[in-house]
Amino acid sequence: MSTPAPRPRIRLDKKDAKKGDLVEVKALVSHIMESGQRKDKDGNLIPRKIINKFTCEVNGKVVFACDLEPAVSANPYMQFKFRAEESGKVVLTWIDDDGSKIVGEDQITVS
Protein backbone atom coordinates (compact mmCIF):
# COMPACT_ATOMS: atom_id res chain seq x y z
CA MET A 1 0.00 0.00 0.00
CA SER A 2 2.19 2.78 -1.23
CA THR A 3 -0.51 4.92 -2.80
CA PRO A 4 -1.54 7.70 -0.45
CA ALA A 5 -5.24 8.22 0.20
CA PRO A 6 -6.57 10.50 -2.52
CA ARG A 7 -7.27 14.05 -1.46
CA PRO A 8 -10.86 14.92 -2.25
CA ARG A 9 -11.68 18.25 -3.83
CA ILE A 10 -14.43 20.13 -2.02
CA ARG A 11 -15.98 23.44 -2.94
CA LEU A 12 -18.62 25.38 -1.03
CA ASP A 13 -20.30 28.17 -2.96
CA LYS A 14 -19.99 30.41 0.10
CA LYS A 15 -17.87 30.38 3.25
CA ASP A 16 -19.97 32.94 5.09
CA ALA A 17 -23.68 32.39 5.13
CA LYS A 18 -26.68 33.89 6.83
CA LYS A 19 -28.72 31.55 8.97
CA GLY A 20 -31.16 29.74 6.71
CA ASP A 21 -29.13 30.24 3.52
CA LEU A 22 -28.63 27.31 1.22
CA VAL A 23 -25.00 26.33 0.77
CA GLU A 24 -24.06 24.37 -2.33
CA VAL A 25 -21.35 21.73 -2.05
CA LYS A 26 -19.45 20.23 -4.96
CA ALA A 27 -17.17 17.35 -4.17
CA LEU A 28 -14.95 15.17 -6.30
CA VAL A 29 -12.80 12.28 -5.19
CA SER A 30 -10.44 10.18 -7.25
CA HIS A 31 -11.55 6.53 -7.17
CA ILE A 32 -11.65 3.74 -9.77
CA MET A 33 -15.23 2.64 -8.89
CA GLU A 34 -14.47 -0.84 -10.26
CA SER A 35 -17.92 -2.21 -11.06
CA GLY A 36 -17.27 -5.93 -10.58
CA GLN A 37 -18.72 -6.50 -14.06
CA ARG A 38 -15.53 -6.08 -16.05
CA LYS A 39 -13.13 -8.85 -17.01
CA ASP A 40 -9.36 -8.66 -17.29
CA LYS A 41 -7.57 -9.81 -20.43
CA ASP A 42 -7.57 -13.44 -19.22
CA GLY A 43 -11.33 -13.40 -18.84
CA ASN A 44 -11.38 -13.28 -15.04
CA LEU A 45 -13.83 -10.96 -13.34
CA ILE A 46 -12.13 -7.97 -11.77
CA PRO A 47 -13.46 -7.83 -8.19
CA ARG A 48 -15.76 -4.98 -7.30
CA LYS A 49 -14.19 -2.03 -5.48
CA ILE A 50 -16.33 1.06 -5.16
CA ILE A 51 -17.18 3.86 -2.79
CA ASN A 52 -20.48 2.58 -1.44
CA LYS A 53 -21.41 5.39 0.90
CA PHE A 54 -20.98 9.13 1.04
CA THR A 55 -22.02 11.42 3.88
CA CYS A 56 -21.84 15.11 4.64
CA GLU A 57 -21.94 16.25 8.26
CA VAL A 58 -22.10 19.83 9.45
CA ASN A 59 -21.12 20.18 13.07
CA GLY A 60 -21.58 16.45 13.49
CA LYS A 61 -25.11 16.38 12.07
CA VAL A 62 -25.73 14.50 8.85
CA VAL A 63 -27.22 16.89 6.28
CA PHE A 64 -26.87 14.70 3.20
CA ALA A 65 -25.98 11.08 2.53
CA CYS A 66 -25.92 8.76 -0.44
CA ASP A 67 -25.55 5.02 -1.03
CA LEU A 68 -23.65 4.42 -4.24
CA GLU A 69 -23.83 1.43 -6.59
CA PRO A 70 -21.36 0.37 -9.29
CA ALA A 71 -23.36 2.45 -11.80
CA VAL A 72 -21.85 5.64 -10.37
CA SER A 73 -19.00 6.83 -12.60
CA ALA A 74 -15.33 6.59 -11.67
CA ASN A 75 -14.07 9.56 -9.66
CA PRO A 76 -17.53 10.08 -8.18
CA TYR A 77 -18.85 13.61 -8.26
CA MET A 78 -21.44 14.82 -5.78
CA GLN A 79 -23.29 18.09 -5.83
CA PHE A 80 -25.90 18.94 -3.20
CA LYS A 81 -27.02 21.66 -0.81
CA PHE A 82 -27.58 22.11 2.89
CA ARG A 83 -29.27 24.74 5.00
CA ALA A 84 -26.84 26.82 7.07
CA GLU A 85 -27.89 26.72 10.71
CA GLU A 86 -24.69 27.20 12.68
CA SER A 87 -20.99 27.74 12.08
CA GLY A 88 -18.82 24.70 12.10
CA LYS A 89 -16.93 22.01 10.30
CA VAL A 90 -18.25 20.53 7.10
CA VAL A 91 -16.99 16.94 6.99
CA LEU A 92 -17.36 14.81 3.89
CA THR A 93 -16.73 11.07 4.15
CA TRP A 94 -16.43 8.49 1.38
CA ILE A 95 -16.50 4.85 2.48
CA ASP A 96 -14.82 2.20 0.32
CA ASP A 97 -15.97 -1.43 -0.07
CA ASP A 98 -12.83 -2.44 1.86
CA GLY A 99 -13.93 -0.31 4.84
CA SER A 100 -11.34 2.41 4.35
CA LYS A 101 -12.47 6.02 4.51
CA ILE A 102 -11.55 9.13 2.61
CA VAL A 103 -12.33 12.24 4.62
CA GLY A 104 -12.36 15.85 3.51
CA GLU A 105 -13.12 18.97 5.52
CA ASP A 106 -14.16 22.54 5.05
CA GLN A 107 -15.55 25.27 7.25
CA ILE A 108 -18.75 27.31 7.21
CA THR A 109 -19.35 30.51 9.13
CA VAL A 110 -22.97 31.37 9.82
CA SER A 111 -23.96 34.85 10.99
Partner: protein, 151 residues
Protein backbone atom coordinates in the same frame (compact mmCIF):
# COMPACT_ATOMS: atom_id res chain seq x y z
CA UNK B 1 -29.57 -35.55 -45.40
CA UNK B 2 -29.10 -32.53 -47.51
CA UNK B 3 -31.24 -29.47 -47.47
CA UNK B 4 -31.29 -27.16 -50.37
CA UNK B 5 -32.59 -23.69 -50.01
CA UNK B 6 -33.33 -21.77 -53.15
CA UNK B 7 -32.31 -18.15 -53.44
CA UNK B 8 -35.95 -17.11 -53.25
CA UNK B 9 -36.51 -19.10 -50.04
CA UNK B 10 -33.33 -17.77 -48.52
CA UNK B 11 -34.47 -14.23 -49.15
CA UNK B 12 -37.87 -14.93 -47.65
CA UNK B 13 -36.26 -16.51 -44.58
CA UNK B 14 -33.94 -13.59 -43.96
CA UNK B 15 -36.78 -11.14 -44.45
CA UNK B 16 -38.72 -13.08 -41.84
CA UNK B 17 -35.76 -12.92 -39.45
CA UNK B 18 -35.51 -9.17 -39.91
CA UNK B 19 -39.22 -8.84 -39.22
CA UNK B 20 -38.87 -10.81 -35.99
CA UNK B 21 -35.92 -8.65 -34.87
CA UNK B 22 -37.80 -5.46 -35.64
CA UNK B 23 -40.82 -6.74 -33.79
CA UNK B 24 -38.74 -7.70 -30.77
CA UNK B 25 -37.37 -4.22 -30.31
CA UNK B 26 -40.69 -2.52 -31.04
CA UNK B 27 -42.50 -4.50 -28.36
CA UNK B 28 -43.67 -2.95 -25.11
CA UNK B 29 -40.94 -1.63 -22.86
CA UNK B 30 -40.14 -4.10 -20.12
CA UNK B 31 -37.44 -4.03 -17.51
CA UNK B 32 -34.45 -6.16 -18.44
CA UNK B 33 -32.93 -6.26 -14.98
CA UNK B 34 -33.92 -6.04 -11.31
CA UNK B 35 -35.23 -2.46 -11.53
CA UNK B 36 -38.84 -3.45 -10.72
CA UNK B 37 -37.73 -5.41 -7.66
CA UNK B 38 -35.58 -2.53 -6.42
CA UNK B 39 -38.43 -0.05 -6.80
CA UNK B 40 -40.82 -2.45 -5.09
CA UNK B 41 -38.43 -2.89 -2.16
CA UNK B 42 -38.07 0.89 -1.88
CA UNK B 43 -41.79 1.70 -2.09
CA UNK B 44 -43.03 -1.31 -0.14
CA UNK B 45 -45.17 -2.32 -3.14
CA UNK B 46 -46.98 1.01 -3.45
CA UNK B 47 -47.13 2.67 -6.86
CA UNK B 48 -45.45 6.10 -6.95
CA UNK B 49 -47.36 9.04 -8.44
CA UNK B 50 -45.82 10.80 -11.40
CA UNK B 51 -44.83 14.35 -10.52
CA UNK B 52 -43.00 16.48 -7.94
CA UNK B 53 -39.72 14.84 -8.99
CA UNK B 54 -37.73 16.40 -11.78
CA UNK B 55 -35.02 14.22 -13.27
CA UNK B 56 -32.44 15.87 -15.52
CA UNK B 57 -30.38 13.78 -17.91
CA UNK B 58 -29.18 14.39 -21.46
CA UNK B 59 -31.44 12.97 -24.20
CA UNK B 60 -28.37 11.56 -25.88
CA UNK B 61 -25.26 10.49 -24.00
CA UNK B 62 -22.23 10.12 -26.23
CA UNK B 63 -20.24 8.43 -23.50
CA UNK B 64 -22.13 6.05 -21.22
CA UNK B 65 -19.22 6.01 -18.78
CA UNK B 66 -20.05 9.38 -17.38
CA UNK B 67 -23.57 10.69 -17.85
CA UNK B 68 -24.52 13.78 -15.82
CA UNK B 69 -27.60 13.21 -13.68
CA UNK B 70 -29.43 15.78 -11.57
CA UNK B 71 -32.75 15.72 -9.80
CA UNK B 72 -34.87 17.93 -7.60
CA UNK B 73 -37.99 17.16 -5.61
CA UNK B 74 -40.64 19.76 -4.75
CA UNK B 75 -40.88 19.94 -0.99
CA UNK B 76 -40.81 22.62 1.72
CA UNK B 77 -38.22 20.46 3.56
CA UNK B 78 -39.61 21.32 6.98
CA UNK B 79 -39.86 18.97 9.96
CA UNK B 80 -43.53 18.47 9.09
CA UNK B 81 -43.05 17.80 5.39
CA UNK B 82 -39.82 16.70 3.76
CA UNK B 83 -38.22 14.23 1.39
CA UNK B 84 -36.43 11.40 3.18
CA UNK B 85 -35.00 9.27 0.36
CA UNK B 86 -34.59 9.30 -3.41
CA UNK B 87 -33.87 6.08 -5.30
CA UNK B 88 -32.30 6.18 -8.77
CA UNK B 89 -32.44 3.06 -10.96
CA UNK B 90 -31.48 2.35 -14.57
CA UNK B 91 -33.51 -0.37 -16.28
CA UNK B 92 -30.95 -1.37 -18.91
CA UNK B 93 -27.76 -1.76 -16.90
CA UNK B 94 -26.49 -5.20 -15.82
CA UNK B 95 -27.72 -4.19 -12.35
CA UNK B 96 -30.44 -1.62 -11.90
CA UNK B 97 -29.25 0.18 -8.77
CA UNK B 98 -27.52 3.52 -9.31
CA UNK B 99 -27.75 5.36 -6.00
CA UNK B 100 -30.00 6.16 -3.06
CA UNK B 101 -29.90 9.68 -1.65
CA UNK B 102 -30.90 10.52 1.92
CA UNK B 103 -32.24 13.91 2.94
CA UNK B 104 -33.44 15.60 6.10
CA UNK B 105 -34.91 19.04 6.87
CA UNK B 106 -31.29 20.14 7.38
CA UNK B 107 -30.70 19.52 3.68
CA UNK B 108 -32.81 22.60 2.93
CA UNK B 109 -33.70 21.31 -0.54
CA UNK B 110 -34.02 17.82 -1.97
CA UNK B 111 -31.73 18.06 -4.93
CA UNK B 112 -28.42 16.58 -5.96
CA UNK B 113 -26.28 15.88 -8.99
CA UNK B 114 -23.74 13.21 -9.85
CA UNK B 115 -22.40 11.29 -12.85
CA UNK B 116 -23.50 7.79 -13.70
CA UNK B 117 -22.74 4.87 -16.00
CA UNK B 118 -25.28 3.66 -18.56
CA UNK B 119 -24.55 0.46 -20.49
CA UNK B 120 -26.98 1.17 -23.33
CA UNK B 121 -30.03 3.19 -24.31
CA UNK B 122 -32.49 2.86 -21.45
CA UNK B 123 -34.80 4.51 -18.95
CA UNK B 124 -33.55 6.11 -15.75
CA UNK B 125 -36.13 6.29 -12.98
CA UNK B 126 -36.14 8.45 -9.85
CA UNK B 127 -38.49 7.62 -6.98
CA UNK B 128 -38.82 10.01 -4.02
CA UNK B 129 -40.14 9.03 -0.62
CA UNK B 130 -41.67 11.68 1.65
CA UNK B 131 -41.73 11.60 5.44
CA UNK B 132 -45.49 10.89 5.32
CA UNK B 133 -44.82 7.81 3.18
CA UNK B 134 -46.12 9.26 -0.10
CA UNK B 135 -44.14 8.42 -3.22
CA UNK B 136 -43.42 10.34 -6.41
CA UNK B 137 -41.43 9.53 -9.52
CA UNK B 138 -40.03 10.70 -12.83
CA UNK B 139 -38.56 8.78 -15.77
CA UNK B 140 -36.18 9.87 -18.51
CA UNK B 141 -34.99 7.91 -21.49
CA UNK B 142 -31.34 8.33 -22.43
CA UNK B 143 -29.95 7.24 -25.78
CA UNK B 144 -26.43 5.97 -25.27
CA UNK B 145 -23.95 6.02 -28.16
CA UNK B 146 -21.03 4.30 -26.43
CA UNK B 147 -21.91 2.00 -23.53
CA UNK B 148 -20.45 2.52 -20.11
CA UNK B 149 -19.80 -1.02 -18.91
CA UNK B 150 -17.32 -2.32 -21.47
CA UNK B 151 -14.02 -3.86 -20.40
Amino acid sequence: MTMTVSRREALALSAGAVAVLAFGSAGPAFAKNDSDDLIKAFTGGKTPTKGKVRLDLPDIAENGNTVPLAFSVESPMTDASHVTDVLIVADGNPRAGVATFHFSPRSGVAEAATRIRLAETQNVIAVAKMNDGSLFMDTRQVKVTIGGCGG
